[in-house]
């Protein structure tokens, strides 16, 4: 669809730049960006897994990178993006049931996604560090 060539330049309906940015609008955009970022982030997982399969030498390169500051920062951002997308996704699953679509709820969901994603990511890192060496 949408392949029709229009003879005249027709007026377009107002697009993004016309509207004052709102939190819920930002969360919608963030859901897409975090989804795309997650896709890129899974290269890290594939790299880790393939290196473990390849043997100790290959693994030591990945392990060295993951243990360094840039590696940890990248892993933290990846995990935050995952959790952000997850909470944003749970929001969508709730909406799929037809509930939580009123103005107050969507504002609350938006804040829960922002704050919850940071809190949950930090908690998972604390739990992950606590689990170190226990398996």
């Amino acid at each position: 669809m949408g392949k029709a060539k229009l003879g005249a330049e027709r007026p377009l309906s107002p697009h993004l730049q016309i509207y004052r940015p709102t939190l819920t609008m930002m969360m919608s955009i963030a859901h897409r960006i975090s989804g795309a970022a997650n896709a890129a982030g899974f290269i890290l997982l594939a790299w880790w897994l393939v290196a473990i399969a390849a043997g100790p030498e290959a693994y030591s390169k990945v392990a060295g990178f993951f243990a360094g500051i840039p590696g940890r920062v990248l892993l933290f951002l990846f995990s935050w993006s995952l959790i952000h997308h997850m909470l944003g996704g749970i929001r969508h699953l709730i909406w799929d049931t037809g509930t939580g679509l009123d103005k107050t709820s969507i504002e609350v969901f938006a804040w829960l996604t922002v704050i919850g994603s940071i809190v949950l990511t930090v908690l998972l890192w604390v739990a992950g560090y606590a689990l170190m060496g226990s398996q």
Partner: protein, 124 residues
């Protein structure tokens, strides 16, 4: 002028019905516990030596969850990337190229990860 019933019943113009919508939701649901498991798995092994990581993947539950994760993620990723491309890429040729690349990317990552998990866990 009536649309035949067989065309009305569920499948719509794309003849795929709500299959993609449903698959995206199903993988989203599966990804919730699996991604939490993934983050804990990676973070708890930062700086771990090779033997420790190898031993971790020798556990059956770890292998099952990790395989389920990469399969579910690859499917979910492919649907999501497709949706983004269809919304923002309008040139017919470049859209098809982007869709093909997105599918190869998701399938490639999924396959590489899954085969690596199998190779680690089955030893060799």
């Amino acid at each position: 002028m009536a649309t035949p019933l067989k065309r009305v019943r569920g499948l719509g113009t794309a003849h795929r019905g709500t299959e993609t919508f449903w698959r995206q939701r199903l993988t989203a649901l599966a990804n919730i516990p699996l991604v939490i498991f993934l983050i804990l798995s990676i973070v708890s092994h930062i700086g771990a030596d090779y033997g420790t990581v190898k031993a971790y993947f020798a556990q059956a539950p770890v292998v099952i969850l990790m395989l389920a994760l990469v399969i579910s993620v690859a499917i979910h990723m492919r649907i999501g990337l497709k949706e983004i491309i269809e919304d923002y890429v309008h040139g017919e040729g470049i859209k098809i190229a982007a869709l093909v690349l997105a599918t190869f990317f998701a399938a490639g990552l999924g396959l590489a990860s899954a085969i690596a998990i199998l190779k680690i866990s089955l030893g060799s």
